[in-house]
Each structure stands twice: as structure tokens, then as C-alpha cells.
């Protein structure tokens, strides 16, 4: 604590915490606004038409729904008309009780019809809307299973999740309100028609106030657009801050940052509060305006219609009918205006959803691709050139062969192309030039699925799914018996610790296998590869994070794993490297040495030089040391 002061004196003025917070907030705001602004569009025809394409399977339901909407709205439009007949023919003209009974009976009939059709309409539309959301989410999910890995490498899970959830949820809001919006629109149209039919002069006079609503809208819209956008942006920043704090809570507590973070979050949340309140105010301004217009239109009915009634030019029932209609006319208009925000959000979300669906699938099965079965597990790279970015090849004309049953270790410094080799073997990416043969077949000629069944892969990071230990070892091999699973676990030396877990194989793993140690997770992932029972095994050995105890166990398990299989191992550990049948040394996308450990050591080439640097892994060797080794090799020292 005493050392804290020693650096302060001659330094430039410190930022106060408040200033630092302010700076960070401004930066966050700028970043997010940029992202959202792109989506500030209200209506996008392409997005809309793609929505429609998702509706295709539900054509029948939609037709039913549209008919139901028309019938329900139509029957509700009939109510005032019946009232009008009741007044003019049964009530005011001397009074005809029987006629009144009949009219009320008909009215009750229409009410019942309305009830039934509304039921159908709401039920069908709500269900189709939900189904549509699940379809969209399912389509995105299924698409993400197939898109090129380079996309997945670049995109974080959180961002994709916000599309699978947040964007889908905001579409839900849109679809729910559009049910009512459709009803509102039909109502508006229907009322206009009925009014014009019954008395077009009075109808025109009443509806004359409608255009002024559009004028109001033109003035209002720019404000609303800005207010709604700001509300959205501030929300998203606020949620982002919460997300980070939850994810990084251990660092937060370790650094005693709680108070600073709370202050920061307070600022963000206040921004959001202000923005939301302003957006509400903007939205609510329309209420008295609509009321004014409703009042105006009713005033027209009263003064003009009333005068005509006084003159006996208009029946009193029609006037009452007009009153009842006008009362219902403006509320839908206001509601429709408020849908604007929802629509804008839905369009932005739709765009983001379709953006995901449009991510190209680079690696596809050829039509008529071969299903590999009972192959001879050999591997051959023929002059393979490949890279992730144009003009930046990572592998430059690599050729090598792996015989069935042979284990080959790939070694080389970071960026030398080891991982790319293994990824290509599995056809995670397609190569630029050359050919990769597995069991004599070009990997592009066979189905990806059958290739996946022939080539098992163990990744550096032993990724486990939630579910039981048993589920994790079996994974997608549904045919695997319990016995097979236990045999596999025993083979890699995992059986013992699994039995010690509270429920043995049926123990449910926590998030990412949190209740297992790293070494244990590694062993489970080995067992998974054994159950998958592929003839070729690709293994990316974990670097230094495992301790020596587990290391021994893992070395043993590795031996079992590779027995009787063709293996390609990205090796870091001395034991693994030395145990391989052959070592391929990669550097800068090219093979520069090949041979057994002792052969390579005697050769005193790059391998021997790197090896003697005694790093825990070749990946850790600093660039300058590699360069030095390479250049010293070239000069022949």
C-alpha cells in the first residue's frame, strides 16, 4: 500500500473517478449508437417479404385467420347499424315492441357470431405467431450448425444469443400487436365505408378531420424516431453492462470495483430512465390530440347532423349511429401510430435475424456425395494450400501421408499451421489448392456426416455439455450401450473418479462441467472419442494447463486412445512428441522437417533448436527466439 504514492508526484493530472466513468460511458454510447443507427429503418420491404416466406407453411391457417378477422370485424360493424334500425323503426316511430325484440335478437346473434369469429381469429393468429417465432429461431439455430466456422470464430456467443432471443422476442411483441393492428385497420376501413354509404355528406364532413392527424404525425415522427432510438440504445448499453458484471464478477470482487461499477451502472441506468421517460412523453402527446379530433368529429355530427335532424333531413337513428361509430374511429388510429415503435424495432430485429440466416454456408455436401464406410484409415495431404483471408495463405503447398495405424505428431511454433491441418482434415474449411484424401477419398466427395464419423476429434479445451456424465461420453452416438460407455471410461482411466461422483455416471454436470477438474474433463472427452469409435483420431493436446499427475494419466489414456487408430496429434508435451511414430515440423505453413524424435535431434535442425529452448510448449516460444533459431539454422551455426 505504501508504494502506491511513489509514482504520483510528477505525473499529469489524474482523471477523477467521475471523469473516468464519464469517458467510458461516452465511448460505450458511441459504439452502441453506431450499431443501432444502421437499423433505424421503419419499413424494409425485403425484410417483410422474407417474413412472408416464413408464413408459407401456414397458408391455410392464415386464410382462416383473415376470414375470421373480416367476419369478426364485419359483425361488430353491424352493431351500430342495428341500433340505428332499432331507433328509427322500432323505438321512435310510435314504438314497435315486436320489431325491437327481433332487432335485439339479431343483434344478439351478431354478438355471438363476433364472439366465435374473434375466438378463432385470436387463437389462430396467436398460435401462428408463436410458431413463426419458434420457426425463425429454429431456422437460425439450424443454420448456425452449418455456417462456416470462420464466421463462428469471429462472432461471440453472446451476440448470437441476443439474436436468438432478444430479436426473436421483439418480433413476438410485433406479431402480438399486429393481430390487433389488423383488426384496427379493417375496423377503420369498415367504418369509413358504412359512414359514406349511410350519409356520404355527413361522412365526408366527419372524416375531414382525419388528414389533420396525418399532419400531426409528420411533425411528431422525427421526434418520436429519435426518442425511441435513444431509448433502445440506452437499454442495450445498460444490459451490456449488467452482462459484463455478471460474467466478470470474480474479477470485480477481487479488484474491489463494486462501488465504481455501481456508480457507472447508475449513470447508464439513469440515461436509460431519462430516455424512456422522454419516449413515453413523446408517445403520450398524441392522446389529447386524438381526443381533440374525436371531439371535433363528434361536434360535426352534433351540429351538422343535429341541424339536419331538426330539418327532418336526417333520421335521428343515423345520427346516433354516427356517434357510436365516430367514438370507435379514432382509438384505432392512435393505437396504430403507437405501433410505429414496435414496427421499427421489429424491422431492426428482422434485419438482424435475416443477417444470421444469410451467413453463407461455405462447406456443403456435393450432390450425390459418397457415404464413407469401412474405409482404410489413411490420410494424405497433396500440395495443400489454404488460408483464412485472401492472399494470406496459412498452409503453403503441404504434402504428407499418414499410414493406417500410424501416429503423427505435428509440431511447430504458433501460427505455423498445425491447427489448420487438423481442421482441414475434418473439412471445417475448404482448401484453395491441392487435395486432402481420407481413406483414399477426397474429403469434398464424401458427406460431411460420414467424414465426421470416420474422424474423431479431441479439442484442446475439453468442452462438456450439461447433462449427465453418461450423456456426455455417449454424446451423439445414441446406439452406445451403458457397457460401451463404461468400457471407454475405464480404458482412459476415468471410470474410477466417475464412480466416486455422487451419482456415478448419472451425475449431472454443472455448467461446462464445472464440478470436474480440468484433467477429469479431459479424460471424459477422451472417453467420448473412444465411444465415437472412429478409425482416425485428431487430437489437439492441451498445453501447459494440466499438472503432472493428470499428465501421467493422460499419457496412458492417450496411448489407449491411439491404439489401433490412425492419429494426428498437435503435440506439445515431450512424452507425446517422443512417443509418436513420426514428427512433422511445420514452420510458416511449410513442412521443414520430418522424422522420429531422435532422428530429428541428431539432425540438429529447427526441431532440435526449439526443443532445447525448453519451453513448456512450442506455442509459447517468443517470436524473436524462433526467428533467431530459424536464421541460425539457415546460416548453419
Amino acid at each position: 500500500m505504501t508504494t502506491r504514492t511513489e509514482t504520483t508526484p510528477e505525473l499529469p493530472p489524474r482523471l477523477t473517478p467521475a471523469e473516468a466513468v464519464k469517458r467510458r460511458r461516452a465511448a460505450a454510447l458511441a459504439r452502441r449508437t453506431q450499431g443501432e443507427q444502421v437499423f433505424g429503418v421503419t419499413f424494409d420491404g425485403r425484410v417483410f417479404s422474407r417474413f412472408i416466406s416464413f408464413l408459407k407453411p401456414y397458408r391455410r391457417q392464415l386464410i382462416i385467420a383473415i376470414l375470421a378477422v373480416l367476419a369478426a370485424t364485419g359483425s361488430s360493424l353491424a352493431f351500430p347499424i342495428l341500433v340505428r334500425f332499432g331507433i328509427d323503426h322500432a323505438i321512435s316511430a310510435g314504438g314497435d315492441r315486436r320489431l325491437l325484440a327481433i332487432i335485439v335478437g339479431i343483434l344478439a346473434g351478431f354478438v355471438t357470431l363476433n364472439f366465435l369469429f374473434t375466438w378463432v381469429q385470436d387463437l389462430v393468429v396467436a398460435r401462428v405467431a408463436q410458431k413463426l417465432l419458434f420457426d425463425l429461431r429454429g431456422a437460425m439455430y439450424a443454420h448456425l450448425q452449418r455456417v462456416s466456422l470462420s464466421f463462428m470464430d469471429k462472432t461471440e456467443v453472446g451476440r448470437l444469443m441476443s439474436r436468438l432471443q432478444g430479436d426473436v422476442a421483439s418480433l413476438q411483441e410485433f406479431l402480438e400487436t399486429s393481430v390487433y393492428a389488423i383488426g384496427d385497420l379493417v375496423t377503420l376501413l369498415g367504418i369509413t365505408v358504412v359512414l359514406l354509404i349511410f350519409d356520404w355528406r355527413l361522412g365526408v364532413l366527419c372524416l375531414a378531420v382525419v388528414p389533420s392527424l396525418f399532419l400531426v404525425r409528420i411533425v411528431w415522427l422525427p421526434f418520436a424516431k429519435k426518442a425511441f432510438l435513444r431509448a433502445r440504445v440506452t437499454s442495450s448499453i445498460m444490459h451490456g453492462a449488467l452482462n459484463e458484471n455478471v460474467n466478470g464478477v470474480r474479477v470485480v470482487q477481487g479488484a474491489v470495483r463494486e462501488r465504481v461499477n455501481l456508480e457507472f451502472y447508475d449513470e447508464l441506468t439513469k440515461d436509460n430512465l431519462q430516455a424512456q421517460l422522454w419516449a413515453t412523453k413523446i408517445g403520450q402527446v398524441l392522446i389529447p390530440i386524438v381526443d381533440l379530433l374525436t371531439g371535433g368529429a363528434l361536434a360535426v355530427v352534433i351540429v351538422v347532423g343535429g341541424t339536419w335532424v331538426l330539418h327532418d333531413e336526417l333520421e335521428i337513428g343515423v345520427m346516433v349511429m354516427f356517434i357510436l361509430y365516430v367514438q370507435r374511429f379514432f382509438e384505432p388510429i392512435r393505437a396504430l401510430t403507437m405501433h410505429y415503435n414496435v414496427l421499427q424495432r421489429a424491422m431492426a430485429s428482422g434485419q438482424r435475424i435475416f443477417e444470421v440466416l444469410d451467413v453463407p454456408v461455405d462447406v456443403k455436401d456435393k450432390p450425390g456425395a459418397l457415404v464413407m464406410k469401412d474405409i482404410d484409415p489413411s490420410i494424405e495431404f497433396k500440395n495443400v494450400t489454404f488460408g483464412y483471408y485472401k492472399d494470406q495463405p496459412v498452409l503453403k503447398g503441404i504434402s504428407f501421408k499418414v499410414k493406417p495405424g500410424e501416429t503423427v505428431a505435428l509440431v511447430g511454433p504458433t501460427g505455423s499451421g498445425k491447427t489448420s491441418c487438423t481442421a482441414l482434415l475434418h473439412r471445417f474449411y475448404d482448401i484453395w489448392e491441392g487435395q486432402i484424401l481420407v481413406g483414399g477419398h477426397d474429403v469434398r466427395d464424401v458427406t460431411q456426416e460420414s467424414l465426421g464419423h470416420q474422424v474423431a476429434m479431441v479439442l484442446q479445451d475439453p468442452y462438456l455439455f450439461s447433462g449427465t456424465v453418461y450423456d456426455n461420453i455417449r454424446y451423439n452416438k445414441d446406439s452406445a450401450t451403458r457397457e460401451q460407455v463404461e468400457t471407454a471410461a475405464t480404458a482412459v482411466g476415468a471410470h474410477e473418479f466417475i464412480l466416486k461422483l455422487p451419482q456415478g455416471y448419472d451425475t449431472v454436470l454443472e455448467q461446462r462441467g464445472g464440478n470436474l477438474s480440468l484433467g477429469q474433463r479431459q479424460l471424459v472427452s477422451f472417453a467420448r472419442a473412444i465411444v465415437a469409435d472412429a478409425k482416425i483420431l485428431v487430437l489437439d493436446e492441451a498445453t501447459a494447463s494440466i499438472d503432472s499427475y493428470t499428465e501421467m494419466q493422460i499419457q496412458r489414456a492417450l496411448k489407449t486412445l491411439l491404439e489401433g487408430r490412425t492419429g494426428v496429434v498437435i503435440a506439445h508435451r515431450l512424452a507425446t512428441i517422443r512417443g509418436a511414430d513420426r514428427i512433422i515440423v511445420l514452420q510458416d505453413g511449410m513442412i521443414i522437417e520430418e522424422g522420429r524424435h531422435d532422428q530429428l535431434m541428431d539432425k540438429r535442425g529447427l526441431y532440435a533448436r526449439l526443443y532445447s529452448l525448453n519451453y513448456s510448449s512450442f506455442d509459447d516460444i517468443p517470436d524473436d527466439l524462433v526467428k533467431q533459431a530459424v536464421s541460425s539454422m539457415k546460416t548453419g551455426t
Binding site: 325484440a101 439455430y141 470474480r250 346516433v320
Partner: protein, 647 residues
């Protein structure tokens, strides 16, 4: 929650409770506990709004004013109709008088309409202000609660679940104010005042007009309970769906490696269909409720035309009055139509509120004692005295005793799962001991304030989290106001400054989720820099150099020498070369210290430590002898060999 549980049946039986008017007294009188939870949640949410006393009062006043104007409108419309018929009924003396009356009525109507609109604007605005303020409060409390919760809590909680709570559930609670409680007040005022006006004008007609009210109230209560149960259920299923998606995307390489796409899609579809089935059930309940309520309303409306019509024919009612009645019912149309939303809002708020409050009410198991004082540092001596630690029936540490100080560095080694990290986590009280005690300069760490404790202790974690912000702010995480030089000094010591300088924006480069990503070794060095920034009295390296090569580690150690001179250091590592120089090394297995002593002493003992040494250090030394290192690397002074000093 299953359908048809006791909550559903027992609350249905409660007579006459309109949605949302459940008073606290009513809630307390109700014997059954489950019922109380439900109404308790709604009442608690309501109370959160009521704490804004003036705002709430003004909202209610605005609602009453707005409703009064709104209910005046049908009467005015009725007058207008009577005015128009004034000549025919002989009420008006002349055409001019009748026309004059019409114009006056129209002007009054416009004024009242605008006033109603203003009232409505004010009350919706006010209720939204309350809602947003409560949401603000909840968000702040939620955030604070989460960041104060102990590691024990976060070990179990899913990030996705917490985010749903923080975003969706608080949002549903927020929507409850404008959409639930104040909407209910509005509807109740409207119905009561409306009923009074109708009933006082004509008892029979009023009864006919209001006949739908009891039915609607009953439906609302029943549906609310059904929906609440369903919503809880759906929420749980959606959480499972979220987790499945998150895992799949996170492990996409595994999925591809095993060609398990179809397996994963099937898994997703099963969960997805399951949720959809439940959602469809909720839709059915909601829709049936909505339409039945509307049906009841429209039937009373038709009844009104029948009874009202008869009255007019009898001459006991004017046509204008009938119009007023019908127009009044027209006003009710929208609120009744929205009742479904209101009911839904109650259901969602109570299920979401329950979850939010559950989190907010949780007391962090690690907190300051009431009379906790800041830690007083003198010799910076850290002592573990017979420490035990365990939870959920498992014991992780047993009888751990040691003392560390600035001149007495402790090294800890042992197999994974042996409890090494647990020791590190006990010092800053990320977890609390279950037996024995940990003291710093004689003070039990549970007696000092957490803040002062954590300022004096820093644990360099094995894997650290990067925040989406600049490198500068990530390094200066504990104190964002430090000068640039201090940050550069820390990264320099952690051997990270060269890398940072090569980044496009140097120290202003954004890293983390949406920025440049760092390798494991770089993250560990970042973690070291972060801790060094703090100048802690006690510095614990929790296997924090595993991904850093030995040479860099040595350079870091050399650079930290002056910092560590005055610091109590504990080094936990798998790599013996990292801790060989510690004054005392503890070998831990299954939570117990099984060997202890200096490196030399332990080697002499010939126990587990000795075996580990044989395994780790020997092979490379042998190799070094066989293939002369100096000959291969060239320059003899290039000391990038394990154990050597940095250039």
C-alpha cells in the same frame, strides 16, 4: 410448478376479489401460505410504486379527473340527441333555440374531450414515471446484489438465468404499473362511477348494463391464476432452451468434430417443441378469457338496447338518454377489451416479481460484521490456523496451518482438486472458512471490512475475465483514475507492454468480447498486471503462470522483485520451477498438508514432492546434457533457458 397445484384451487375460492385489489390485510388473513406468496408478490410490487407517494396520489387523482370527464361525454352526446329532437318532442320553442343548444353542446363536447385527453395523458405519463423509477431501483438493487453475492452463489448460478432476471423479469414488473395496477384503478373507477351514474339514472337499465361486471371479475381471477402457473412453467422451459443454445454455440467445434449437428438440432427441437406446447396452452387460456369477457360485455350492451328501447317506447326515457347509455357502454368497450392484457400483466408480474424478489432477498453469505473495522497492517503476516473448509457435505480443506510474511514466501503444490485454489480464495474471503481461522497481523479476516481486506489481498487468477473496454481500463480495473505511467509500469512488470504497444490502438485498443482477443498467456499476464496495480500487502499467484513459458515467468519474477520485497507472497503452481525458491513449500493432497519444508528439505525427504521433481525437472535436464543447449542456440549469454535470468 405443476398445473392444478394448491395455489390454483384455494385462491379461486376467495370471493369477490377483483384482480389487483387484494389488500395486504386480505393477504394476511388468508391462511394458506402459498396464496400469500402470490398476493404477497403483487402487493410488494404495488408497495414499491406507492413509495413514490405524491406521484401515486397524483396518478390516482389524474385517473379520477380523466374518468369524470370521460363519463361526462356520453351524457353530452345524449343531450345532443335530445337537442336534435327538441322540435319534434316540443322541448325547444324555436328552431333557432334548438340549433343554439346544439352548438353549445358541441362546444362543450370538444372542451370535455380535450380535458379528458389531457387527463389521460397525465395519468399514463405519471404511471410510466413510477414504473420507470421502480424499474430503476430494482435494476440498481439487482446489480448491487449480484456483485455482492459470494463466489458460492455465482458458482451455481447460470449467467443466462441471471440475465433473464435482470432484463425480462424486471421489465415485466415494470409493465405491471401502467398495464396492471393503475389500469385496474382506472377500470375500477370507471366501472364504479359509471355504475353509479347508470344506476342512479335508471336502476333496471343500470343493472342490465353492469351485469357483465361480476362475471368479468370472476373470469379475471380464475385466468390470472391459471396463467401464472403456466408462465412459471414456460419461463423454466425457456431457460432450458437458452442454456441448450448457449452450450451448443459455445461448443460448436465439438459439435462439428463429432458430426453431431443433427443430434443437436433434434435436442433443440425437443426442448423447443416442449416450450411451444406450453405457450400454446397459455395462449388458449388467454384467448378464451379475452373473448368470453368481451362476449359478456356485448350481451349486456344488447340487453341495454332491449330494455332501454322499451323505456323509450313507454316514454319513461328519452332517446338521448338511451344514446347516452349506449355511448357509455361504447366507452367501456376498449377497457374491457384490454382486460386480457391486464390479467396477463398480473400473471407475469407475480411470476417475474417472485423470481426478482427471491434474488433481491438473498443475503450474501459473506458480509461485513456490524462492527467491522478496516484491517490494520503492520508486519503483513498472514496466518492460517487449523483451517477447515467444506460445503455441500464435501470437505475441501482439513487442518491447514501455516504462516506467511514478507520474508517468508509460501509455495503450494499438489494434484488438481487437492484444495490449492481454495486456500487462495479463503484469504480475500471469496469463501469463508468452516473451521479454524485466517488472520492478518493477528486480526481474524472475518472481523475486518471486506473492502479493506480485498484492497490488501490480491489473487492473480488462473483465467481472468476481460471487460469489453480498453487495455488501459482493463489493467487499471481496480482504480480507473490512475495515471497512464502506473499502468505502463504494471504491464511492463508483467511482460505485456511490448505486446500492447504493437496493438493498433496501443493502450486504447478495445479488448474482450467485442474487441481483440488475447491468448491464455496474455490474459494471465494481464491478470498479473491488474494485481500489481493494486500494490497489495498480500499477493497470491493462483496457478497464474500455467500458460506462460518459463522464461517469461522468470522475467516477470525478476521485474516483480522490488514489489515483492515488501509483500507477503503465496505461489500456487503445478510447475515446480515456479516455486522452488519459496521459503516454505506445502504439498497438499486431498485437502491436507502432507509434506512441508524448503525445496532442499523436501527433496531429502524423498516423498511425493521428490517424485514430482523427478517427473518434471529431471527429463529436461537430462536432455539438456545430451544435446548441448549452448551449442544449439548460439550465443551463450542468451539466457532463455529454464531457470536462467532474463536478458
Amino acid at each position: 410448478m405443476l398445473r392444478g397445484n394448491p395455489t390454483a384451487t384455494s385462491t379461486v375460492g376467495r370471493p369477490g376479489t377483483a384482480p389487483g385489489v387484494a389488500t395486504p390485510a386480505a393477504a394476511q388473513e388468508n391462511g394458506e401460505q402459498k396464496v400469500r406468496i402470490d398476493t404477497g408478490v403483487i402487493w410488494r410490487i404495488t408497495r414499491l410504486g406507492l413509495q413514490y407517494r405524491w406521484l401515486s396520489a397524483f396518478t390516482v387523482i389524474a385517473i379520477i379527473v380523466s374518468v369524470a370527464f370521460q363519463l361526462w361525454i356520453p351524457t353530452i352526446l345524449g343531450h345532443a340527441v335530445d337537442n336534435a329532437r327538441a322540435l319534434a318532442t316540443g322541448e325547444a320553442a324555436s328552431y333557432d333555440a334548438a340549433r343554439h343548444a346544439l352548438i353549445l353542446t358541441a362546444i362543450l363536447l370538444v372542451i370535455v374531450s380535450v380535458l379528458r385527453g389531457l387527463g389521460a395523458m397525465v395519468h399514463t405519463n405519471l404511471s410510466e414515471i413510477i414504473a420507470q423509477k421502480v424499474a430503476f431501483d430494482l435494476r440498481m438493487q439487482f446489480y448491487e446484489k449480484l456483485q455482492r453475492q459470494s463466489f458460492k452463489y455465482h458458482d451455481r448460478a447460470h449467467v443466462g438465468d441471471l440475465m433473464t432476471l435482470g432484463i425480462l423479469d424486471i421489465e415485466f414488473v415494470r409493465q405491471f404499473y401502467p398495464g396492471g395496477i393503475f389500469r385496474t384503478v382506472f377500470i375500477i373507477v370507471l366501472v364504479i362511477v359509471g355504475a353509479y351514474m347508470l344506476l342512479s339514472a335508471d336502476l333496471v337499465l343500470g343493472l342490465v348494463g353492469m351485469s357483465f361486471v361480476p362475471f368479468v371479475a370472476w373470469r379475471a381471477v380464475v385466468t390470472r391464476i391459471k396463467l401464472r402457473v403456466l408462465w412459471n412453467d414456460i419461463q423454466e422451459r425457456l431457460a432450458i432452451l437458452t442454456r441448450a443454445m448457449e452450450e451448443n454455440l459455445g461448443g460448436i467445434r465439438v459439435v462439428r468434430a463429432f458430426a453431431a449437428q443433427d443430434h443437436e438440432i433434434r435436442k433443440f427441437e425437443a426442448i423447443s417443441d416442449d416450450s411451444l406446447t406450453r405457450i400454446n396452452q397459455a395462449i388458449s387460456v388467454r384467448v378464451r378469457n379475452d373473448v368470453v369477457i368481451q362476449y359478456a360485455f356485448l350481451l349486456s350492451w344488447a340487453g341495454m338496447l332491449w330494455f332501454g328501447g322499451l323505456r323509450v317506447i313507454d316514454g319513461t326515457l328519452t332517446l338521448g338518454q338511451l344514446t347516452a347509455f349506449l355511448a357509455f357502454m361504447g366507452l367501456m368497450m376498449n377497457p374491457v377489451r384490454q382486460l386480457g392484457f391486464v390479467v396477463n400483466s398480473y400473471a407475469r408480474a407475480s411470476s417475474s416479481g417472485e423470481r426478482v424478489f427471491e434474488t433481491l432477498d438473498m443475503v450474501p453469505d459473506i458480509q461485513d460484521k456490524p462492527n467491522a473495522k478496516p484491517v490494520r497492517l503492520s508486519t503483513k503476516t498472514l496466518r492460517f490456523e487449523n483451517v477447515y473448509f467444506g460445503f455441500r457435505g464435501e470437505r475441501f480443506l482439513e487442518d491447514i496451518t501455516f504462516e506467511a510474511g514478507p520474508g517468508h514466501t509460501i509455495g503450494i503444490v499438489g494434484p488438481p482438486g487437492s484444495g490449492k485454489s481454495t486456500i487462495a480464495h479463503l484469504v480475500p474471503r471469496f469463501y469463508d472458512v468452516t473451521g479454524g481461522r485466517v488472520t492478518i497481523d493477528g486480526q481474524d479476516i472475518r472481523d475486518v471490512t471486506l473492502e479493506s481486506l480485498r484492497h490488501s489481498v490480491s489473487v492473480v487468477q488462473q483465467d481472468t475475465f476481460l471487460f469489453t473496454t480498453t487495455v488501459f481500463e482493463n489493467v487499471a480495473y481496480s482504480d480507473p483514475s490512475v495515471p497512464q505511467e502506473a499502468v505502463e509500469q504494471a504491464t511492463g512488470r508483467a511482460q505485456l507492454d511490448n505486446y500492447i504497444k504493437r496493438l493498433p490502438g496501443g493502450y486504447d485498443t478495445v479488448v474482450g468480447e467485442r474487441g481483440v482477443s488475447l491468448s491464455g498467456g496474455q490474459r494471465q499476464r494481464m491478470s498479473i498486471a491488474r494485481s500489481v496495480m493494486l500494490h497489495p500487502a498480500i499477493l497470491i499467484f493462483d496457478d497464474s503462470t500455467a500458460a506462460i513459458d518459463a522464461a517469461t515467468e522468470n522475467r516477470i519474477r525478476a521485474a516483480l522483485k522490488d514489489v515483492m520485497k515488501d509483500t507477503t507472497v503465496i505461489i500456487i503452481s503445478h510447475r515446480l520451477s515456479s516455486l522452488m525458491n519459496c521459503n516454505e513449500i506445502l504439498f497438499i493432497d486431498k485437502g491436507r498438508i502432507i509434506e512441508r519444508g524448503s525445496h532442499g528439505e523436501l527433496l531429502k525427504q524423498g516423498g511425493r514432492y521428490h517424485d514430482l521433481y523427478e517427473l518434471q525437472i529431471k527429463p529436461s535436464q537430462e536432455l539438456g546434457e545430451k544435446y548441448s543447449i549452448k551449442a544449439m542456440v548460439g550465443a551463450p549469454d542468451d539466457g532463455a533457458v529454464a531457470g536462467g535470468q532474463s536478458p
